[in-house]
Amino acid sequence: MKYIDEDRDGSMARGYARLIRTVTTCRWTLMEICGGQTHTIVKFGIETLLPPEIELVHGPGCPVCVTPLEIIDKAIAIASMPNVIFTSSEDMLRVPGSMKDLLAVKAEGGDVRMVYSPLDAVKIAQHHPHKSVVFFAVGFETTAPANAMAVWEARRLGLKNFSILCSHVLVPPAIEAILSSPHNHVQGFLAAGHVCTVMGYEEYIPLAAKYRVPIVVTGFEPVDILQGVYMTVKQLEEGRYEVENQYSRSVRREGNVPARRLLAEVFRAVDRKRRGIGEIPMSGYALREEFADYDAERLFKANAITVQESPLCIAGLVLQGF
């Protein structure tokens, strides 16, 4: 398939692996931010192609992993209520809450449905005017505009039975949390290509300068990852710390302007908890006050649910590379 096959070319991947070996003179620790990139690294055995001096640390860029137990329990509480159709992408249905997961709610008779797009959840609300349809709005900046559009559409259509349980998280505050920690040993970042497709990469420029780390916006195919590693290592070896864009076939400096405009109209930045890490200031999105009628947490009074995460959980340490 065009734009995929060429970036999985084995000889090209080996070529980059060779290039990385020729520029590497000492030990470097890099972090790939996005869980999608981690998936490619593991699936294609990228680490076996790298010289032993280069360590890849897998970062906190999987919204499924960082969603706190508390939000999962709120989702389960809302999904268990009568007259509710609870909709979600497939990956959130299996995440365990304190007692059970959303699939267990479904097994017990709850109306829990998997949808591909948040607009599908809006359609369900149109078709079931006497039910309350809730969409589980989890994800990074890549996903947030789609969920903003669902709320926007629900308002345009005059739907009174659609709401979202919102737990959006943002990437740059998480990078800053890692970099500002005394335990940090990450020296360069592969930034998440699809997050930057939406947001652009201007907000990473002050981070790279302040903490003196190269940040390379990187795609998701094996050749993308190897090229991203090469560009990051080259900067480290040359003593540079700039923001570079490996994924230029998709990422523009300013991102996707219409999508960003919609984000700004529907959401505002708020403090947000992450599983195992705790609260990071201004690291997430919540609905703006004018969209309060679409906020499932308020509608179903789920704010009262608080959960203490197990002190035995080391997810936060793993995700931050400590």
Partner: protein
């Protein structure tokens, strides 16, 4: 979760709100929201995430990225570093 894949735009319907179109992913066709790619045309490639096109593929940039290795490869040959 941030999975997004490239697909070829088969048609664009600007008469609906938001703008929608059919996109083919290696033969599998899905209806996709094209609202955020204002100048998108039939035959172009877009990157799609949860039913929304989030960018248009830049063919020139894609080719240049792939070409970078070839250029580097030539330099490596000159350096005699290729095993």
């Amino acid at each position: 979760m941030c999975l997004a894949i490239p697909g070829k735009v088969l048609n664009v319907n600007k008469n609906v709100q938001p703008v929608m179109g059919d996109v083919s992913f290696g033969g599998i066709t899905k209806r996709v929201c094209l609202e955020w790619i204002p100048d998108v045309k039939e035959g172009e490639y877009v990157i799609v995430h949860v039913g929304f096109a989030i960018s248009k593929m830049d063919e020139k940039e894609a080719l240049e990225t792939l070409d970078m290795l070839r250029q580097m490869g030539e330099n490596l040959d000159e350096l005699g570093a290729v095993p």
